[in-house]
Amino acid sequence: MTAWGLAWRTIARSPARSVLAVAGVTVIGALLFDMLLLSRGLLVSFRDLLDAAGFDIRVVAAEGSMVHRPPMAGAASLADAIARLPGVRRATLVSSDTAIAIAPSQSRSGTRVSLLGTNDAASGSVLTLVSGSPLPSAAPPGDVPVLVSPKLAAALQLQPGSALQLRLFLPGSASALPLVTAHVTGIAQFAFEAADEYTVATTMDGFAAAHGKPADGVAEMVLVSTDSTQPGSEASAAAAIARLRPDLRVLSNDQVMEQFNQNAFSYFRQISTVLSSMTLAFAFLLIATLLTMSVNQRLGEVAALRALGFPRRRIAANLLWESVLLVGVGGLAALPVGALLAVVLDRILREMPGVPGRLHFFVFEPRAILLHVALLSVTGILAAVYPIWLATRLPIAATLRREILS
């Protein structure tokens, strides 16, 4: 009989014990798999979000960051200049503020919303039109056309054509601007809208009008889309923008990712590393203990096999196969269990305020499976080392004598 066959019979001889051991490996393996998904999940998901928005370069004020974006003077003329650069497809202005939205039929207390100003009327980039019309590229002065998110539309019972009053506040002042009446042109999904947030988007002119002033060419950020079919267009466009306005920060998607990776996402990477290590240590200890106890129970059997002429190599192979079977079956079962668990854990973490609704903490990548298999294999092999040493170094005659006497 092969070492594999012998290992299978040993495991099958104690079904309750084996099922429990496999169940333990499955649960611990599922946790390990989830931690591997978590280690890069935010990065992968955020990268997808950035790429889906369709922009390669972001321009912000020098003293700002992607989170804190002071207004940039002359942003509109900069966007025009950027749009004329070779290899640039389009440049979009973005500004944001907080406002109170009041539906005429609702209470006067209103709903706090994020007001987004953009000159990008195209659907499919930062927003996807669900119903109604996109923002007009040109509107009469003082007109405030808006797109609202489906959540806000449901909360305030809005539809295309509805009126919506907006109240904005003067920064650094304990007073509010007069109510501005906007009209809803459509309902749109916003890529970066958080689960606990309501978003309203308007044109840059509408944004200025809501603030009670004419368009002044100020924006928080310029988003730039380059021609990805031309190699090096992103780098050359970034360099050209930096030359146009050396006082601003020009960030590629990679640099934005690096910023978030260094700061906002690092906690989850660290926690996943710590939990993965602990999970592996835990699995190692438990498999090693199970195999050691199993060997201790079968000392007589092992000594008898050795006395019959079984080489040490076969005894070692038998124990190694036992470990491989327990860890292998448990590790495989851990994948679907881990996937289910990841859905639950992801749902918990996405309740965090301010997290974009489309951002996920646990994201599947093929490398996670490869790492999972590699780490569990190494753990299984290491866990079998001590029991193998115990079984192969067994004094045959003394063990047999002790077994007969007992």
């Binding site: 014990r17 499955t26 599922a30 946790l31 650094g172 304990a174 509010a176 129970q297 854990l345 965090m352």
Partner: protein, 290 residues
């Protein structure tokens, strides 16, 4: 914000400003300069010491720049919301900050600030106070500092995540514990057969298993807590080093220790009982292999 008596403002205003250290020798009248406190992180980065003269400005072009004398350094109050951020901060007296930020021709700018911290006589009135401020001062957002009761703050979410991970770990370790207990019971099959053969009742054996389980589970739980207490310093040191913060990440509290015991001891006893139960319901002769 209108109405604030700046002369009586005792608080320091923290500002993220651009600091340029100047050699102390270039400023003979340094004692006359207003004092500034520098965060430990900023002091380390720019090699600042008490007595140094620094120029603070609102932006890289040097607008609103003023000179200060470094009075000392301070450890920023740990902020869990910003623990990944580098705390490059400085504190000056509020009038000094207002003097830097005020805009000529805008009298309101000299009477403006970002936030006011309010300590209420009765903290339970925080919600009512916030509502009153919001209704009287449009544009002012008043928020209680206490954690949201609906469990929506980031730490409540993180706590739920950690509890879920802990529950999965307990589930996995219970399966392993059961496997070990089943093996242990198998080891003692013959012993239990003999004990039952000489007339010891199943109830007595069960009680013995219960006592043994209680002892082992308690010892395991206590060992686990001691291990957690011993290693919490290492975990804290690692994360404090990684994020350059004084924030405490792990703290084994009495409540957590009791919670661990409350979960692990019954589980340990249960695993022991389940493992032994398979032997107790078997025939005595079968236990002895007859």
């Amino acid at each position: 914000m209108s109405g604030l008596n700046r002369g009586r403002a005792s608080a320091f205003a923290a500002a993220l400003l651009i600091a340029v250290a100047l050699p102390a020798a270039t400023a003979p009248a340094s004692a006359a300069l207003p004092p500034i406190l520098i965060s430990r992180q900023l002091a380390e980065r720019d090699h600042l010491r008490p007595g140094d003269i620094v120029t603070m400005a609102l932006d890289a072009t040097g607008s609103g720049s003023r000179q200060f004398r470094v009075e000392g350094t301070y450890e920023p109050t740990p902020d869990p919301v910003r623990f990944t951020a580098r705390r490059l901060e400085a504190r000056v007296h509020l009038p000094e900050l207002v003097a830097m930020t005020e805009v000529s021709g805008d009298p309101a700018s000299a009477d403006s600030l970002t936030a006011i911290n309010v300590k209420l006589t009765n903290p339970s009135n925080a919600d009512a106070f916030s509502a009153a401020v919001a209704s009287r001062a449009p544009g002012v957002f008043a928020r209680p500092t206490a954690r949201a009761k609906d469990g929506s703050d980031p730490f409540a979410v993180l706590e739920r995540f950690h509890v879920a991970v802990a529950a999965v770990t307990v589930l996995g370790s219970t399966a392993f514990l059961l496997a070990l207990m089943v093996m242990r019971a198998e080891e003692r099959r013959e012993t239990i057969g003999i004990i039952r053969l000489i007339g010891i009742s199943e109830r007595s054996i069960l009680l013995e298993v219960l006592a043994e389980g209680l002892l082992i589970a308690t010892a395991g739980a206590v060992f686990g807590i001691v291990l957690a207490i011993a290693t919490q310093g290492l975990v804290n040191q690692f994360f404090q080093w990684r994020y350059d913060t004084a924030l405490v990440f792990v703290r084994v509290t009495r409540a957590i220790a009791l919670q661990s015991i409350a979960v692990s001891v019954p589980l340990g006893i249960l695993a022991g009982l389940v493992g032994s139960w398979t032997l107790l319901r078997r025939d005595v002769l079968a236990l002895l292999g007859r």
